[in-house]
């Protein structure tokens, strides 16, 4: 797989609906200013005028995060089923697959970042709002288990509205499954870096995504328990301007750092080097 080639092809036209319209120029979703698509691409989909971080597809995210040609997808054969026979779910999932170009709301696999091995998961908001159903939960649980087996750190980029309504209770249980898997990996000594991107809310923010040894977030991302859909007036009194954002969560101690997109790769590499160093010492003690 070549995420680099994937990235440039897809960003030209296939998946623009969440970010920028097709064409030469488009409007920034943050400041409404006209920006050149080429410039936006060069700037990793961050507006050079206001710094707004437009959403990325999982392929785009992988392309700017992992070493070229290092990504090997795992569990790509898992597809959604319909445990509740929920009205319209099958159609909705197949439409989502067609429009997003991914088969489910998370892509997982092995990769290296600046030469450092890790297991990585990248959510794709374009597939049913990044919602966590059985497939997302299972892929995440398997990713944690794979990190335990390989004794490497795990990095997960989240972007999700929460549990997938169409899978009902089965989706709700993925919160417990992924949280338990995160805890199991933690007990086995696996470092977990959780990266919150726009948006990370509901049952994803309230499960594995909040359990990182280190929790990073992109600037300005919507991050909170309730999604923005819940009326602000219902949420009690005077709300701060940064309510339900990365910055609010960092201010209240639930996010370690907000990291601009262009610094994310270096930040991850720093942490992976830190964790790898401690692993090397353990290896020596074991005589391995």
């Amino acid at each position: 797989m070549n995420p680099g080639g994937w990235f440039s092809r897809r960003s030209r036209g296939a998946r623009e609906m969440d970010t920028v319209p097709d064409g030469v120029a488009s409007k920034c979703l943050g400041c409404d200013e006209i920006i050149f698509v080429r410039e936006l691409e060069r700037n990793l989909q961050v507006c050079s005028k206001c710094g707004y971080h437009h959403r990325l597809t999982s392929a785009e995210r992988l392309a700017i995060t992992v070493d070229p040609d290092s990504f090997v997808e795992t569990d790509g054969d898992l597809l959604p089923d319909d445990p509740l026979e929920f009205p319209g779910y099958v159609e909705k999932a197949s439409t989502a697959a067609a429009s997003s170009g991914v088969r489910e709301a998370i892509t997982t696999g092995d990769a290296t970042i600046e030469g450092l091995p890790c297991v990585i998961g990248v959510a794709d908001f374009g597939f049913m709002g990044g919602s966590m159903g059985s497939v997302v939960g299972e892929k995440i649980a398997r990713a944690f288990e794979r990190a335990v087996e390989r004794a490497v750190p795990i990095v997960i980029f989240s972007a999700s509205g929460g549990a997938r309504m169409q899978e009902g209770l089965v989706a709700l249980m993925q919160m417990a499954k992924t949280s338990a898997a995160a805890k199991r990996a933690s007990l086995a000594g696996v470092p977990f870096i959780s990266v919150l991107t726009d948006p990370t809310t509901g049952g994803v923010y309230a499960s594995y995504a909040s359990l990182g040894d280190v929790i990073l977030a992109e600037p300005g991302a919507v991050v909170g328990f309730a999604g923005r859909r819940v009326g602000r007036q219902d949420l009690g009194g005077h709300l701060p301007a940064n309510f339900q954002t990365s910055e609010f969560q960092a201010e209240h101690g639930f996010v370690d750092r907000t990291v601009p997109r262009k610094e994310m790769r270096a930040t991850l590499a720093f942490l992976l080097r830190f964790f790898a160093a401690s692993e090397a010492r353990e290896g020596e003690a074991d005589g391995s």
Binding site: L78, D81, A176, A180, S186, S210, L211, L235, G236
Partner: protein, 280 residues
């Protein structure tokens, strides 16, 4: 007529104003109970109650989500919608149970966790996540009983256990039917249809393998005969604890992890070469 209620009618019974709440059952089921307070970090969230109790002379730790009966109590308890400190209080009491080898009994009854400013400030999401992770590996038996509303993440913050029981007319759902209807049909009035689609009844939860036992309710619902309901819950808790008590703690925790690990329904189909190369 109560044998064949629609899912929406189940929702209405689960939310009935006279339905027994956690503390009602605690008083009827346990010989003695002492309420403890606070999360030892920030506050005492009264949407969550808990403390040491005796079940037929046997020491246990009880936690529960508590709605209020009258308006003043409802406000004090935030209608049973816990914030960060409520879930941390539950975790603190769960740790107490673990440390002294007491089984943990959790009464689940919340429409949802709070999502207001104070909930976000006190990290309600982190608290729910932490509870699920910690409960999954807690080295003592855990029995959770959904007595009314098992509302989404708010329920999950206190519903991870070795056995999950559910009262016949309780509901357990990923989203309230009103919210689901608003998303699906942009119309909250269609909540009854959404309740059907969500398969949120006790029978469905058991069918999906999410709960082990459904406890029949007195005719018309638990509020028609609370003491009979309490007696039935007590019998079930006692039986389940006896069963769990026969397992070693290692086996217990391994089985609990497996209980959640196997949850999920999917199909498999290898990615075709074409699809892998041309994702668009």
């Amino acid at each position: 007529m109560f044998a064949n209620l629609s899912p929406w009618e189940e929702v209405l019974i689960a939310r009935h104003k006279d339905r027994p709440y956690a503390l009602d059952y605690v008083r009827m089921i346990f010989d003695q109970y002492m309420e403890l307070s606070g999360d030892r970090v920030w506050a005492n969230d009264e949407a969550v109650i808990g403390g040491p109790a005796f079940l037929d002379g046997r020491p246990v730790v009880v936690i529960g989500q508590q709605k209020g009966r009258d308006l003043r109590e409802r406000q004090r308890r935030n209608f049973g919608c816990a914030r960060g400190p409520g879930f941390r209080k539950a975790l603190r009491l769960a740790r107490l149970a673990e440390r002294f080898g007491r089984p943990l009994i959790s009464f689940v009854d919340t429409s949802a966790a709070a999502a207001d400013l104070r909930a976000e400030e006190t990290g309600v999401s982190e608290a729910i996540a932490r509870n699920m992770a910690e409960f999954a590996f807690l080295r003592t038996p855990i029995v959770a009983i959904v007595i009314g509303e098992g509302g989404s993440g708010g329920a999950m913050g206190m519903a991870v256990g070795d056995r999950v029981l559910m009262l016949e007319h309780a509901v357990f759902s990923v989203i309230p039917p009103e919210g689901c209807a608003a998303i699906l049909w942009r119309d909250k009035e269609q909540a009854p249809q959404a309740a059907t689609a969500l398969k949120l009844t006790a029978k469905s939860a058991q069918h999906l393998g999410i709960v082990e036992h459904v406890l029949p309710e007195p005719l018309g619902g638990a509020h028609r005969d609370p003491s009979a309901m309490a007696a039935s819950i007590k019998l079930s808790i006692t039986a389940v604890l006896e069963e769990l008590g026969r397992m070693s703690l290692d086996d217990l925790v391994a089985a609990r992890y497996a209980r959640y690990r196997r949850m999920g329904v999917w199909r498999t189909e290898p990615p075709s070469e074409r699809a892998a190369e041309k994702p668009s």
